[in-house]
């Protein structure tokens, strides 16, 4: 799959499967998830809640639910995260991969100073305290926080949500990671603040050549930010392709459905149409294509045979009718 012209991916997930071992029946969360992110590339991972996108992106840091059984590989910089011991995981998290979470208010310990939060990661990576403080100031300046020295002594409740998310991003960039995982980084923020945060993320990615895995439920936002997008449904990747092609010519009815239910501003655009039914998780999914129950184009075969992810156009789709050019 790797094209010779492209650099080695910083992240490569291969056939990742995660099952929660409950008391009796194991509950599957992910099945055969494969994706990759190259240096400097922004890759979207889009899905509704319960699709498994958060489990997938947390696995990059080796953060998996307790008692989970995992198959496949998650390679960061060529090393398999799933086989790492405690020390290696700490090295991975302090140096190679950083994560930005959805709600900055919840991400930062409310009782500790901003300075503590910023330097904590650096200290964990072995930076001496004075150097860590100096670096924290630099980082705050880089994300556009005025009076960084004063900010270090403040507590999180003295910041607005957008400002706090800037702090979280600054902390994520502290160790110059090769890969940044952003899990719905703007969902908890106002629209105007969202744009600022996206702008900061984009600028920093360009400046530093960091690979960015951008997880969101918002296909429209993903299209604005990402080079390529993976669409997840019920614990599986159902479609993967470049942003432009995905929007112009989606191959999976679920992607098409997601696009059709996004309201548009242009004059004469069709009214948004919701996808009938509700999203399911992998554990609840029936055999066959998990989307079949909600799909207007489902055939009997769709309910029996799980479609494999196969190349269609410039990307991949997991649909028995992907070659028929079905739109929603």
């Amino acid at each position: 799959m790797t094209r010779r012209t492209e650099p080695e991916p910083v992240l490569r997930i291969d056939e990742l499967g995660v099952r929660l071992a409950a008391d009796h029946a194991a509950r599957p969360l992910l099945d055969g998830v494969s994706l990759h992110v190259r240096p400097g590339e922004t890759v979207g991972l889009v899905g509704e809640s319960g699709s498994g996108k958060s489990v997938a992106c947390r696995s990059v840091l080796g953060l998996l639910p307790g008692g989970a059984r995992v198959s496949g590989q998650v390679r960061v910089g060529g090393h398999d995260v799933l086989g790492m011991d405690r020390t290696q995981l700490i090295a991975l998290r302090t140096r190679q991969v950083a994560m930005v979470f959805q709600d900055p208010r919840a991400s930062v310990n409310p009782l500790r100073r901003i300075g503590d939060f910023l330097t904590e990661g650096l200290r964990a990576a072995g930076t001496p305290a004075p150097a860590a403080t100096a670096r924290a100031e630099e980082l705050l300046t880089a994300v556009g926080i005025r009076d960084p020295r004063g900010a270090l002594r403040r507590h999180p409740h003295e910041f607005s949500g957008g400002m706090l998310q800037r702090v979280v991003i600054a902390a994520a960039l502290a160790a110059e990671p090769a890969l940044l995982v952003a899990d719905e980084p703007t969902t908890a923020l106002d629209v105007t603040t969202q744009a600022e945060i996206i702008a900061i993320l984009t600028r920093l990615r360009v400046e530093r050549g960091t690979g960015l895995l951008f997880v969101t439920h918002d296909l429209e936002l993903a299209s604005a930010v990402c080079d390529r997008v993976y669409v997840m449904y019920a614990g599986r990747i159902v479609e993967a392709r470049g942003t432009d092609e995905l929007f112009d010519r989606p191959r999976h009815p679920y992607t098409a459905g997601l696009l059709a239910c996004t309201p548009r501003i242009e004059a004469g655009a069709p009214a948004p149409r919701p996808i009938p039914g509700r999203p399911v998780s992998l554990a609840e999914a029936p055999p066959g294509c998990a989307f079949a129950a909600r799909c207007a184009h489902a055939l009997p075969r769709c309910r029996e045979e799980t479609p494999a992810l196969a190349p269609y156009g410039d990307g991949l789709a997991a649909c028995h009718r992907a070659d028929e050019g079905i739109t929603w």
């Binding site: 409740h157 003295e158 910041f159 607005s160 949500g161 400002m163 706090l164």
Partner: protein, 299 residues
């Protein structure tokens, strides 16, 4: 800077409230919801029956002194042995269940009634009445029940009266605070407004509609308080301030049994101790279990 968190302030107050509700037995229920609850109900049922039928069940007169049969230990004649005065311990335990349950019943009954009244008035009226009542209850928390009881005993003398009155007064703010809290929540619900729009008078809605809805929660809390009241009253009896000898009472029996322990006879003190712990645990589990059921039903 921007960003205020008014929600932060109640955080610490919440913990204080939690303590005021004395979450002692809280998580015992996690150890097994069904069987433990059932067993506790059974224990309490047996306890009530024993108290009611004490004269029929007790093998001996609980006050019959027989100095020749002092501290006999377990035997066919005396299942749990005798105390230092040769009184049958089992019979005293059985009769002790009466005072053991009657005191807490009075305390919890009176404090729940008073607390419900005060809590409802505060929640329903709001404004200055609520502020005044809340302030008064805060103040009442500062004088611990045990201390109030001891003060009252010092004035009016030992016996059931002073401890029961003092404990009823001391437990009222617990009940009042609980009722005020849940009544305020309940009052904010749309159905209350609906009745008022239909022309029901305020107090009719409050007493006929709101009160029945919060009554189960009050009852659950009362069950828990029953255990604590039992514990507190037993402590006062142990100090010699409660039921006066020779009346059989668990707390007093432990007090009398102390010297027997030094002589190696454990039963005179350990038997009533076990009864107290068993009753307190059972009341706690039943109260928690009821509260748990109510909150699950509402969800």
């Amino acid at each position: 800077m921007t960003g205020t968190t008014p929600s932060a302030a109640p955080a610490a107050g919440g913990a204080a409230d939690a303590l005021r509700r004395r979450p002692g037995l809280g998580r015992l229920r996690e150890l097994g919801r069904g069987p433990l609850f059932t067993a506790s109900v059974a224990v309490l049922a047996v306890l009530v029956l024993v108290a009611l039928l004490a004269p029929l069940l007790a093998p001996y007169d609980p006050d019959a002194v027989d100095l020749s049969a002092s501290l006999t230990g377990t035997s066919g004649g005396h299942l749990l042995g005798t105390d230092q005065s040769g009184r049958d311990i089992l019979s005293r335990l059985i009769h002790g269940a009466r005072t053991g349950l009657l005191g807490p019943l009075l305390v919890v009954g009176v404090s729940t009634l008073l607390g419900t009244l005060l809590g409802l008035v505060g929640a329903w009226r709001g404004g200055w009445a609520d502020a005044l009542l809340s302030r008064a209850m805060d103040m009442a928390f500062a004088i611990p029940g045990l201390l109030l009881a001891i003060l009252l005993v010092a004035v009016v003398g030992s016996g059931m009266t002073a401890p029961v009155i003092a404990m009823a007064v001391a437990y009222t703010p617990y009940a009042g605070r609980l009722v005020r809290g849940i009544a305020r929540q309940e009052k904010a619900r749309p159905y209350i407004e609906a009745y008022r729009v239909q022309g029901w008078s305020g107090w009719t809605v409050c007493v006929r509609r709101l009160l029945p809805n919060i009554a189960p929660t009050i009852f659950a809390q009362s069950a828990m308080n029953f255990g604590y009241a039992l514990m507190d009253l037993a402590a006062l009896s142990f100090l010699g301030f409660g039921v006066q000898p020779p009346t059989a009472d668990w707390g007093a029996m432990i007090n009398e049994g102390q010297s027997a322990i030094q002589q190696g006879a454990m039963l005179p003190a350990l038997a009533p101790s076990t009864c107290i712990v068993l009753a307190v645990v059972a009341f706690g589990i039943v109260g928690e279990g009821l509260a748990d059921r109510i909150s699950r039903r509402e969800r």
